[in-house]
């Protein structure tokens, strides 16, 4: 198809032709076109179907506020639904499809909905589909969901990448129209760090859409020259294709830069979009204004558009929606469209102006005091019916109708911190109130001053004021002369008697729907929105909200400011979810922490588990093993019978130094540390301020003033943070310094009766039981001189050590240990075997330190020292925390060795009811013990310390489990600790 509606001129490059496809049909356009302008140039008016009634719809606007012309852009895994044709920059090979139709765009089967509109009025789904109730979930809801919605998703993974970034500036200018450009020039020349952001790919705003002169130049030429100068200033960052989406706290703003959306596909490795966080000292909002429609019967036919948009298409994109255009306006601005189109050779059917005193023209007919009462044309406008000032009617043949109900300043961003706009009668619109987000000023049309002169001068003036405020010297550049026409407007919202007059074309909300909402009591503006869906979806009511408010105000007998606006929320325009996700998707969702033995474990086919961000080896399967249990049982037996090695680097390590280091530990641990001898390790329990157990670990005293505290893996960060809080805030007078060394040392547990024999081959010092007894620690050397640390501590209950070397040697060390242990059939063991052995030994871990248990519950009540003050000790004495029948840790074993004992199951008396009232306690950790040959668990039981030998039931009504169990000591293995002292 030729570009039959293409005019001459415009800011497009006609020397190049771009091919694109819409609904399978091939078209051409030019660089500088949007999909919308190219379709207009090709004479396409029908572009979509409406949300509810599937009415034929075309463009309403030429900008990001577009409610109707939403398309599915691209195909395959890059298909993007609900993309506004007005913001899509045309590229060669562009593919777009109309959406929300069943069948073709011209013959949409769901347009039947329009015939049943009486049944589908606002809130219909609150009233219908009520009976029978059982039908809702399986029948009504699926049908409604299927019919609802706009575009469709590809359901494939998005192949593009998205970045996030951070920028800082003195002044962020939002919008590069005349006021924004003037402000940027003022601040840029003064040397301030400026960011000038505009959602459009061409800066200049309305100057590109008008025929207005600025100084001696055409407005768009002046804008281009000024933008070119700004681009040469190193202190000014020009960000076209960048939408500022929200004003957040403390002068931070979000912005989405569409880096590659104007390309067929992003260049290799390049992001599609970047979500920027902008840190600003000041912000100047130059967001301009959005033209508002007038509601009249059948005002939604393809071809009926905003007057300013028609002007944009004609002047900027050299395209007219039809060769014969009528104008319907209540203000002088509508006449500009007529004048500009006429100058371009487009036939003006007439200008219909609601005002009796409308300006006259010699070039075309002006119908003053007239109104458009109805339109016709199934898939596109054919004529408009006009009621003239004398009451007679007249038919205006036209293929396009340009309407203007006035302009609304773009106040969105001024309201993101909960501000509300104020009403200005002079322009019949809301303007920004004095209550702006911190650091924000507003200039140009966004403040309600609509002339080019006012935009230029307020932009420069506000920028100068900001510079003064920031202490930056500036000389305001002299702004060139420009038109300074006053805003002549008589408010006119809807044509009397109209019912199917569309206020919100995106959500199919009519004047009648607003009246219904009022009639049914949904009169608050927020209720109106929810009841009718006015102002929802992708355009967020940018062209519709004001009309809805005006109708509601009139029905309610209130003024528009009394009705008020709904809350404005970010983002300003739709943002792909991928942009919010950025690089944090899939395996990059969070950083991965690897242990020093990771490669070693991978080589052995270890199965890994995520523990926080860490990847830890869970077990090491060997040939012939088919289930995880086989591997784990083997690792446990090998360790208990001879020796095993496990990477325990992930446990938190905090270096504690200072003259008051011991006193500090006395504060954070409930048990005493002051008297711990140098060269010794002690188990410690930390309580929260409220007396509940927080974390446990060990502290090794390497010198009088030097300890190494270990924490659990899960709580490493939290405990370190807690310790810093205690140091900095609670005891700032203590001489103590903390730093994490978790990652600096590769640490391995070497456990089992032969562990000493293995380590004797590696450690350069004497580690006999006499020289290095249970709970000893020391700085040592290994393998002939490498500095290392050795701790004789045991989580497994066996003779065991933990040995640490600088992390870079961690891989080498575990291989040395494996070599040294070969004679003893050493095995590497994972977290599962570690877990089995600690349950067999009755050691508490995360399942027991679960945020509800006290030291007393854990069987460590006597550890809470009364001789000193420590965090949590006072509140651990609260009534209720120390009841005689309080939960105490116990061991649980099945009376029938074949029965399972699941963790999470509850303990009930051997007979009697099974319910919450008779709950006696619960199992926290369970496993199969290969040493004992049956399942075991540890858990908490009321008065557990005195109930050993009692037979109970361990029940899980949810999973239907009921096992007879015997309460035993939690220390299934070596209760006297002979092994670990051997």
């Amino acid at each position: 198809m030729t570009q039959k509606n293409r005019l001459k001129g415009g800011q497009i490059d006609t020397s190049q032709t771009l091919n694109f496809s819409f609904d399978g049909k091939q078209f051409t356009g030019h660089p500088g076109d949007t999909l919308a302008s190219a379709l207009v140039a090709n004479g396409v008016r029908l572009m979509g179907r409406s949300f509810k009634y599937h009415r034929p719809r075309g463009l309403l606007t030429s900008g990001s506020e577009e409610p109707n012309a939403l398309v599915e852009l691209r195909a395959g895994n890059r298909q993007e639904p609900n993309t506004r044709a007005t913001t899509i920059e045309l590229f060669d090979g562009l593919l777009a499809k109309s959406q929300n139709r069943l069948g073709s765009l011209k013959f949409d089967l769901l347009s039947i909905n329009d015939r049943f509109s009486n049944f589908l009025a606002a809130g219909f789904y609150y009233k219908t589909f009520m009976w029978p109730a059982a039908f809702w979930e399986k029948i009504y809801e699926p049908i409604i969901r299927n019919a609802a919605g706009l575009g469709s998703l590809s359901l494939e993974d998005d192949p593009d990448v998205y970045d996030k970034g951070f920028l800082h500036c003195d002044l962020l200018i939002i919008g590069a129209g005349p006021s924004g450009v003037a402000a940027a020039l003022t601040a840029g020349r003064a040397g301030a760090r400026v960011i000038l952001a505009d959602e459009d790919f061409r800066m200049g705003g309305r100057l590109n859409s008008e025929t207005i002169a600025v100084g001696d130049a055409h407005g768009s030429d002046w804008a281009a020259q000024t933008v070119a100068e700004l681009a040469t200033l190193p202190n000014v960052r020009m960000m076209a294709r960048t939408t500022v989406i929200g004003a957040f706290d403390h002068g931070t703003y979000g912005a989405v830069e569409r880096v590659s959306d104007h390309l067929h596909t992003p260049d290799a490795g390049k992001p599609r979009q970047i979500l920027w966080r902008l840190y600003t000292k000041r912000t100047l909002l130059c967001a301009g204004a959005i033209e508002r429609p007038i509601a009249f019967e059948n005002n939604d036919r393809p071809g009926i558009m905003m007057a300013g948009a028609v002007r944009s298409f004609a002047n900027r994109w050299a395209a007219t929606p039809h060769e014969r255009v009528a104008i319907f306006t209540n203000n002088d601005d509508g006449h500009r469209t007529a004048a500009d189109l006429h100058a371009k050779g487009v036939k003006i059917a007439a200008v219909v102006d609601t005002r009796e005193g409308a300006p006259r023209s010699n070039s075309y007919e002006v119908l003053a005091g007239a109104q458009v009462t109805d339109t016709k044309g199934r898939l596109g406008l054919t004529f408009a019916e006009v009621k003239l000032a004398d009451g007679s009617t007249r038919r205006l043949d036209c293929g396009a109708l340009a309407m203007s109900g006035g302009w609304n300043p773009n106040v969105h961003m001024t309201c993101h911190q909960r501000g509300r706009p104020t009403w200005n009668d002079d322009i019949a619109a809301f303007v920004p109130s004095a209550e702006l987000p911190a650091g924000m000023s507003v200039a140009g049309a966004a403040t309600g001053v609509f002339s080019t002169h006012a935009a230029l001068t307020t932009g420069a003036k506000e920028a100068a004021a900001i510079l003064r405020d920031l202490g930056i010297k500036s000389r305001a550049p002299k702004m060139p002369q420009a038109e300074d026409a006053p805003t002549n407007i008589t408010p006119f919202w809807y044509v009397e008697g109209a019912s199917r007059a569309w206020l919100d074309q995106q959500n199919d909300v009519t004047v009648k729907d607003v009246k219904l909402s009022h009639q049914e009591g949904f009169r608050s503006v927020e209720h109106l929105k929810r009841y009718t869906t006015l102002g929802m979806a992708t355009d967020q009511g940018k062209t519709s909200n004001m009309g809805g408010l005006a109708v509601m105000a009139e029905i309610a007998g209130k003024t528009i400011p009394e009705v008020g606006t709904t809350i404005f929320r970010p983002p300003y325009t739709p943002v792909p979810i991928g942009t919010f996700a950025g690089r944090a998707r899939g395996m990059d969702f969070h950083p991965t922490r690897k242990t020093p033995s990771h490669t070693f474990a991978e080589e052995r086919g270890a199965v890994f588990v995520e523990v926080g961000n860490w990847l830890r080896a869970q077990w090491f399967p060997i040939e012939g093993e088919t289930t995880w249990r086989e591997s784990v049982d083997r690792e446990v037996l090998a360790t208990r019978n001879s020796v095993g090695v496990c990477d325990v680097t992930t446990l938190g390590k905090v270096d504690v130094q200072g003259a008051d280091a011991a006193d500090f530990l006395n504060k954070i641990y409930c048990n005493g540390f002051a008297k711990l001898a140098v060269g010794k390790v002690r188990y410690g329990l930390m309580l929260r301020e409220d007396g509940i157990a927080m974390d446990d670990g060990t502290a090794a005293r390497l010198a009088e003033d030097h300890f190494v505290v270990t924490t659990t893996t899960a709580n490493a960060v939290g405990v370190y943070r807690h310790m810093e809080f205690v140091r900095q805030c609670l005891f700032p007078d203590m001489d103590v310094q903390l730093i994490s060394t978790t990652e600096g040392w590769a640490q391995y547990a070497v456990a089992g009766p032969n562990s000493r024999k293995v380590l004797e081959k590696i450690v350069d010092q004497d580690i006999s039981n006499e020289a290095f007894p249970f709970m000893a620690c020391a700085n040592i050397t290994v393998c002939g001189g490498l500095r290392a640390r050795l701790f004789r501590i045991s989580f497994s209950g066996e003779l065991a050590y933990e040995i640490a070397v600088p992390t870079r040697y961690g891989d080498a060390l575990i291989r040395e240990i494996m070599t040294a242990g070969a004679d003893f059939d050493i095995v590497p063991y994972g977290t599962e075997a570690l877990g089995v052995m600690r349950i067999e030994k009755g050691h508490a871990a995360g399942n027991e330190l679960n945020g509800t248990t006290s030291a007393l519950n854990l069987g460590m009540g006597r550890m809470v020292s009364k001789k000193k003050d420590s965090i949590g000790s006072t509140l651990s004495e609260r009534p209720g925390m120390n009841e005689a029948d309080a939960l105490a840790q116990v061991g649980i074993k099945p009376t029938n060795p074949n029965d399972p004992v699941p963790a999470g199951a509850h303990l009930m008396a051997a007979d009697g009811p099974i319910d919450a009232a008779h709950d006696q306690g619960y199992a926290t950790s369970a496993c199969y013990s290969p040493i004992l040959g049956h399942s075991i668990a540890i858990g908490f039981l009321k008065d557990g310390a005195n109930r050993k030998g009692e037979v109970m039931r361990l029940v899980s009504p949810l999973t239907g489990i009921e096992t007879q169990v015997e309460i035993v000591s939690a220390h299934f293995i070596d209760p006297d600790g002979e092994r670990l002292r051997a």
């Binding site: 990448v161 970045d163 996030k164 970034g165 951070f166 920028l167 800082h168 760090r193 290799a268 490795g269 390049k270 992001p271 970047i274 966080r277 840190y279 690089r583 944090a584 990059d588 969070h590 950083p591 922490r593 690897k594 242990t595 990771h598 490669t599 961000n613 680097t649 270096d655 130094q657 200072g658 003259a659 003033d705 030097h706 203590m734 001489d735 310094q737 730093i739 994490s740 060394t741 978790t742 990652e743 600096g744 040392w745 590769a746 050397t781 290994v782 393998c783 002939g784 001189g785 490498l786 500095r787 070397v805 600088p806 992390t807 870079r808 040697y809 961690g810 891989d811 080498a812 040395e816």
Partner: protein, 187 residues
């Protein structure tokens, strides 16, 4: 002498070096690190001792001193991270502790971190995509603590087009991946 073979944080025997466009991202494993924190009431003495050791006054908040054999970076009130060539100063922490005695708490930090040196004219653009610091507002020698993709890192501008990033060693792979991805974005 032991015969254990060290691995770099990225798991290689030698440092990883990658070039993306004009940007180069080098892993720097040959770096000895030691943290030093002045003890209560011993701040002045610590500063004096370290000035002699380092050969320069220790930097204040947000700053690093890059000259000499032992560059220093401010990392907290009365706290610095000292660095040196690993081959010559493997036990830097012992040297520092020997000098300060009980005036300061010194901790070996060499293997707690991974260090990357980034160089190239696009370094600032790359930094914009990585962390919230104001790279354009940072002079050479400015250093700060920030986050890159949720990882706590030290960021030091070591030259007009050079940046040093010191991040958690166990996440070296994730950090490196983030750096390379950002380099591709801007290269």
């Amino acid at each position: 002498m032991h015969n254990l073979k060290p691995l770099t944080a990225l798991g290689g025997a030698v440092a990883d070096v990658q070039t993306v466009g004009t940007l180069t991202i080098c892993e720097v494993p040959d770096l000895a690190l030691a943290s030093v924190a002045a003890r209560l009431g011993r701040e002045k003495q610590t500063l004096k001792t370290l000035k002699t050791l380092v050969g320069a006054t220790l930097p204040g908040p947000g700053k690093a001193s890059l000259k000499g054999d032992i560059p220093a970076m401010w990392i907290g009130p009365d706290q610095w991270m000292l660095s040196a060539d690993y081959a010559d100063h493997e036990t830097l922490f012992e040297t520092v502790a020997g000098a300060t005695g009980a005036d300061a708490s010194v901790t070996e930090q060499s293997d707690g971190w991974v260090c990357f040196d980034i160089s190239g004219s696009q370094m600032p653009a790359m930094c914009e995509l990585l962390c919230p610091v104001d790279i354009h507002g940072m002079a050479v020698g400015d250093a700060t603590r920030s986050t890159i993709h949720q990882m706590g890192c030290f960021i030091c501008r070591t030259g007009d087009t050079e940046l040093r990033v010191i991040g958690p060693r166990s996440s070296a792979g994730s950090l490196h991946h983030a750096l390379i991805a950002a380099a591709h974005s801007v290269a």
